[in-house]
Symmetry: C2
Subunit: 430 residues, 2 copies
């Protein structure tokens, strides 16, 4: 990938490293992080909205009063007080569990890694939405699992397509190990499974005896009504639920969790101990004290309203400015809208020109393992303010207009893209 120095260990790497690929657009994103660029690319929560003074006071008190515990090794499964508090947080999505069912992880990314480590032999199949979260695709590849994409519609993962995909996998002699889904406020698709859809998907997973891996980092960040009921609320044996404080409190703490059936949970703890010994007591107790002393539900409401305003700014600007033939999803929560460009345009080929026009996005191909997504891209509205979002859309719309002019003059822009190669955005920006 990058680097031209001779690597003396090039013949020594494990086979799994072939699935670990660097992003060829990292250099572009380094440029994209310059302040003059409006980035609609990253999935960074707007942590500036947090009550910093109160958090500082909370952490200061924690260190002064219980520093000897906060700065010490803890249990591999995670702090028991925090695990009890996580039950209260999950009550909002109707997940009912016991503190023993929970494994605290270094962000829910680590939970994804551990679940895959525990279940997937090389060649096992994971069924994932098309498109899906970049960081999950990276984990599945790193464990040499085969990712099989399943089509989505405006209600997310399509059950008919899911059943067909399972049948096709089985008839090819392979083992479908997991169905990986983000039911609420999907990254990157920006859609949400309704209650009936969730039931249909769970029924298929149960009938086929396939583990359902439910990733729910955005579940509490819906813009209207109650948070969607988690699939795990209806099956405590067939579903592993992944939660995260990255978007409801702060991503820099790296605290997430998995809820798993008893036997699985035991294996996850062993895997966690092998991976990191234990999650940080300092981070866990910071989260725990924040939950105990700060109005965390009100803070989530602050985030919800902030992100709703930004979503409205994005949708409003797109309605007003996007060239005909451009379509997008209307997210009811979370961070992302999924854009389909007019026929013949290529989001990967267009990216350098977008960045030259001082706006950044993530091209669609990064959210697939099979080259789909050239006509798509992801826009995030979580981080820039509403004025910046509108300015970003204005710039992007102009870039698309000029791409359309190019396409009308020279035909498709796909050929240009091939000189850039496979696009795998780094997970931290996607």
């Amino acid at each position: 990938m990058t680097g031209t120095r001779l690597d003396p260990w090039v013949d020594s790497y494990a086979a799994r490293t072939q699935g670990m690929t660097a992003s060829e657009i990292r250099a572009l994103f380094a440029v994209a992080s310059r302040p003059e660029v409006v980035s609609l690319a990253g999935g960074m929560p707007f942590v500036q909205a947090l009550p910093m003074e109160q958090i500082a006071a909370t952490v200061s008190r924690l260190l002064t009063e219980r520093g000897a515990t906060a700065l010490q090794y803890g249990s591999g499964q995670g702090d028991v007080v925090l695990r009890e508090q996580i039950l209260q947080v999950m009550a909002d999505v109707k997940v009912n569990a016991h503190p023993d069912d929970i494994v605290v992880t270094t962000g829910s990314q680590m939970a994804l890694d551990l679940v895959t480590r525990v279940f997937c032999d090389p060649g096992d199949v994971v069924l994932v939405e098309a498109p899906s979260y970049v960081g999950a695709l990276g984990v599945f590849r790193a464990y040499q699992a085969d990712v099989v994409h399943v089509a989505m519609d405006d209600q997310g993962l399509n059950p008919v397509a899911l059943a067909e995909a399972i049948a096709a996998v089985r008839s090819s002699g392979r083992t479908p190990k997991m169905i990986y889904t983000i039911p609420s406020f999907h990254n990157p698709a920006g859609v949400t499974q309704g209650p009936e859809r969730r039931t249909e998907i769970l029924t298929i997973a149960q009938r086929e005896g396939i583990l359902l891996l439910e990733d729910d980092p955005y579940g509490l960040l819906g813009f209207d009504g109650e948070p969607p009921r988690a699939i795990r609320a209806d099956d405590d044996q067939g579903v592993i639920y992944l939660g995260s404080f990255s978007k409801t409190i702060a991503s820099g703490l790296r605290v997430g969790w998995a809820v798993a059936p008893h036997g699985v949970r035991e294996k996850l703890v062993l895997a966690a101990e092998s991976a990191v010994l234990c999650p940080s007591n300092f981070a866990q107790m910071t989260v725990s004290d924040y939950l105990a002393t700060q109005p965390w539900r009100e803070q989530i409401k602050v985030f919800r309203e902030l992100y709703r305003d930004r979503r409205d700014a994005l949708l409003g600007a797109m309605d007003q400015l996007m060239p005909a033939g451009t379509t997008w999803t209307v997210p009811a929560g979370g961070f992302y809208s999924w854009i389909t460009l007019p026929q013949g345009l290529d989001s990967k080929a267009m990216l350098p020109r977008a960045i030259a026009a001082l706006v950044a996005y993530v091209p669609g191909t990064g959210f697939f393992v099979d080259g789909q997504g050239r006509q798509q891209l992801r826009l995030s509205y979580c981080y820039p303010d509403t004025d910046r979002i509108r300015e970003g859309v204005r710039r992007l719309a102009a870039v698309i207009e000029s791409e359309l002019d190019l396409a009308h003059t020279f035909g498709t822009t796909h050929a240009l893209a091939d000189s850039i190669g496979q696009v795998n955005p780094a997970p931290d920006i996607a």
Copy 2:
């Protein structure tokens, strides 16, 4: 292992889970954590010696002034300011590197995991000291690597035995991928490689073209003279160096690092992103600000003197109280002494009786993959105060005395041990 509930996923786990085994003595250690038990088992640093008020003030200022960064996602490779500071810390063991060569990890346990992930296919051989760090053995097993033990002497890893082991592995048709060594203040053996020994080991690794993985959590915690020169100081292409702030600052922050050759470092960053996206900015910036604002070298001196006093208490009490036939290593730094019981005694069989006598240790078998270590055990002096250490040795000596009486009456105590089974202490207590 534990639990008798039926696991519906029992046939679905990946093959690697067979290498993930729970400790059958966990229940005993739960008892051992009661305050009336003197625990000489755990490797917990004495973080109570830290200046809590100053750390609280440092973190409070961090959150107030740079909270938006501290609570946000960061780079997968780790904070660049911290990586520059790590160079200063490593200067004490003469490691010379560039910030780009460093990957910050969630404790150096994660660095162990990533290096193994990047290099070891199932069946690859890792050469490790006999005995070796429990957490490293767990990682190697989790990646289905074959651990081959190499004998140690009072200077640590024995080069003649190493060369023989490599030859034997090669002639068996297997691939020796790494030599894993803890050169300074070894866990659990309590010995240190001298400069000539390090050169001999490095020469073998270079001649054989085998990667040397140098694990150095205790390097700055020597009791006499200068910190030992790291092996990495003499080879920046053939050695991966692992460092940690767990023992020099605080284990609860979970901040460690790897220094690796360029090509390896790139792969480690990709693996790290897949594993946890990024290390915690909150923890990294806490370490960084601590290093920038607190007299960290003086604090390490405080730790060194504290641990030296405790080592002296342990050795003095053992000299005075241990039954004839008991021998031990004399550590020049770090946390541990390695005890050999009189002939015929079994440390695993003895453990329940020791805990009944209100003293705990780690039986030797946990530090091997092949059943060695029945006559050995590890004592740590890092956490209890000197009075408690002396009381612990007094209790342990009495237990050994009564075991000797039993052995003289009934022969060896080995038979009793077989009812307990394989002993794998959880890494967080070993």
